[in-house]
């Protein structure tokens, strides 16, 4: 027996164990959890023109995404994901967002502020405001209000003069997201009216400071301020798909799935040990490396772990084992045919390689197609499948070869077919 090889084997194991123990926590902490695990929500918007004749091209789309980004910054979500799909859809994913209700409101309003007269004629709109100058203030009675700054005080004087001339209907109606069919006269009769407020204009106002009072709560005033400061959306967005997951619900799903996965993986390990003995032990060691490398690559790609992703990871282990099984079965066959352990190991590895390559390459092709053509939910799954198939080559082929090779070459396994799960009575006598 050559002690050097066995020594190298243990040296590799110990060094790897040390490295793995150091990277475990960083990997776990940098895994990005999807909203089905963390809670949060996802909305798919269909983008439509705001005004007649407006074109939805890549420029309007990226402007819309920029405004959405600004609004999300207000919410303080750490890992938002905003993507343009199909050229005219925007998918917004906000994992871990605390106040889902507020987030939805902030995202969905166009935030198109307009000032109109009682006949709904447009007097001023968002383009007359100085950007980023909205503030929340309080009046004498400590009620919240929002202050704005206009670009041009002369224009405001002109508007107020016109409103004044319309007495007794001298009101300046302030609308948020005025839509077709909305009318001041219809809404004014209702107690819960759609416009923000309709202050009376009693003098010509030559100023660029405007206050909006509208029976706000502090939260409402803050929302309005945030919306005005992040700018109105250049387009109309209709929710066509949405999903929201409660934080507790997501956490429960993750715990259950990880628990089930852990038992499943343990079962694989035990099965391999029982069926392939020493070969199974080596396979189990390479599987541990496999899990670490897959997770590290996954984190490195900044991919988001979702529930199907966890399932794909666990499944991937089952499929990675396949490479070990193919090789170990071949080695067993060769031992049975009467070869020595060393030549059985060499022949088995050599014969198993093309099988594993072809089998994994076809799966990689399938996964790549899914990644290119699949929708976002399918994509996350395809990434995991793709990564796991590629890593399989590294661990289950080369890793297992290295570790098992050290033992085979040390001659410690010579004449011990039982260590591969082969009965002596099955070996062909030569």
């Amino acid at each position: 027996m050559k002690k050097g090889h066995v020594f190298s084997f243990f040296a590799i194991l110990i060094i790897s164990a040390i490295i793995l123990s150091f990277v475990t926590m960083p990997i776990i902490h940098s895994v990005k959890l999807g909203l089905d695990l963390k809670g949060g929500f996802e909305v798919l918007y269909q983008v439509k023109p705001l005004k007649a004749g407006q074109k939805i091209d890549s420029e309007t789309m990226s402007n819309a995404v920029a405004s959405i980004n600004k609004r999300i910054n207000v919410l303080g979500v750490s890992e938002p994901n905003i993507a343009i799909e199909n050229g005219n859809r925007i998918r917004v994913q906000l994992p871990g967002v605390k106040d889902q209700k507020r987030a939805r409101e902030l995202l969905s309003t166009t935030a198109n502020l307009t000032f109109r007269d009682y006949k709904d004629k447009l007097m001023l709109d968002g383009s007359d405001l100085q950007p980023g100058k909205a503030r929340v203030a309080f009046d004498d009675m400590n009620r919240p209000l929002v202050t704005l700054r206009l670009k041009d005080s002369a224009k405001f004087a002109d508007v107020t003069r016109k409103i004044l001339a319309e007495a007794p209907n001298n009101v300046l109606v302030i609308w948020m997201d005025y839509g077709k069919g909305d009318s001041y006269r219809k809404e004014a009769a209702q107690s819960n009216h759609k416009f923000i407020s309709a202050p009376s204009v009693n003098n010509v106002l030559n100023t660029n400071d405007v206050q909006i009072t509208g029976n706000f709560t502090v939260q409402e005033a803050t929302n309005l301020k945030d919306l005005l400061n992040s700018g109105s959306l250049p387009v109309k967005m209709d929710e066509i798909y949405s999903t929201s997951v409660g934080a507790q619900y997501g956490q429960n799903s993750m715990q259950q799935t990880l628990f089930a996965g852990a038992i499943g993986i343990a079962a694989i390990f035990i099965f391999m040990l029982l069926f392939y003995r020493f070969g199974g032990l080596i396979a189990d060691i390479t599987l541990i490396f496999y899990v670490y490398i897959v997770m590290a690559v996954f984190v490195g790609l900044q991919a988001v772990l979702t529930l199907p992703g966890i399932a794909a990871l666990i499944l991937g282990i089952g499929m990675a084992v396949d490479a070990n099984i193919i090789t170990l079965e071949r080695i067993k066959d060769e031992i049975r045919s009467g070869k020595s352990i060393l030549s059985a190991y060499k022949a088995g590895n050599q014969r198993a390689l093309p099988t594993v390559v072809d089998a994994n390459l076809t799966t990689i092709i399938a996964a790549a197609v899914l990644f290119i053509f699949g929708d976002s939910a399918v994509k996350g799954f395809a990434v995991m499948l793709l990564i796991s198939n590629i890593i399989t080559f590294i661990t289950s082929i080369y890793g297992a070869r290295l570790l098992l090779g050290l033992w085979v070459r040390s001659k410690a396994l010579n004449n011990r077919p039982g260590l591969f799960g082969v009965r002596r009575s099955d070996i062909l006598e030569k």
Partner: protein, 318 residues
Amino acid sequence: MKSNVNMDYKHYNRFYDHFDFIKFRNVFFTFSLVITLAGIISLSIFHLNLGIDFSSGTRVDLQADRPLNITQVTNTFKDLGYQPEQPVLSGNHRNIATVRINKELTHQEIAKVKSAIQSKYGIEPNVSTVSPQVGRDLAKNAFFAVIIASIFIIIYVWVRFEFLQGLTAVIALIHDAFFIISVFSLLHIEVNILFISAVLTIIGYSINDTIVTFDRVRENIKLSRKRLTTFEELGQIVNLSIRETLTRSINTVLTVLFPVIFLLIFGSESIRTFTIALFVGLICGVYSSVCIACPLWAVMKARYIAGRKKKRTVQTEG
């Protein structure tokens, strides 16, 4: 069994070492045809129980800190002013309910539903809404992805193996995908977006399995060192190759089934559809590789060889 190919280590007995897979090919083909027909009939009568991901409407998944009952959950939604379909209860303590409403709720309505349910059951629910357009697009994209993947697989197998093997591998793949869809239609299990991922996984797995067996067929043909001309010779090669790879096929499917079974028992409700589809598909995948793809290849290959021979004789006569 006598064979002229490499039988040097096939001298010991396993339970399947005398099983003639080729002899029973018509039993397998008939079985698969019957199942497929049953699936087509079931699909045309019962259709698929499409979740909102593929149709439209709203789904609420609610979890409670105590067991639920259907009337109680239905009433909660009626009090909110909605007409839900029959809620489905699940979870080990019957504490999870899935409710469908045939209407896309607006975000204001969702906020209202969420806070009402949270205050009543203690845990914030999941709410999803889908418009008809998105649901259609999803199904369409997945379908095209499968078609494109199939074409690439045929091309790859054609290059590495031969065209007929690529074709039978894809037939086995479509057989498996359709089998899962049939089972879901017959048992009326709700189909959601994860179902697509499951079907796609099975396609990947089925291909993997079929390729491993074909790989052995390719190797055994090379080792036999003679031109195979008759169906009997092809059948011998196929039988031998299946037997040689069967331990691997069974062990591999077992190792993949372990986590699937545990996910089925202990895993989250949200991926139940996914795991059921995988469970059914994995078993079907092994069956189709061994009992459909390989015998079917032998039949087609024998016909192809016979056809070419005939052509040649006709040519020499003419």
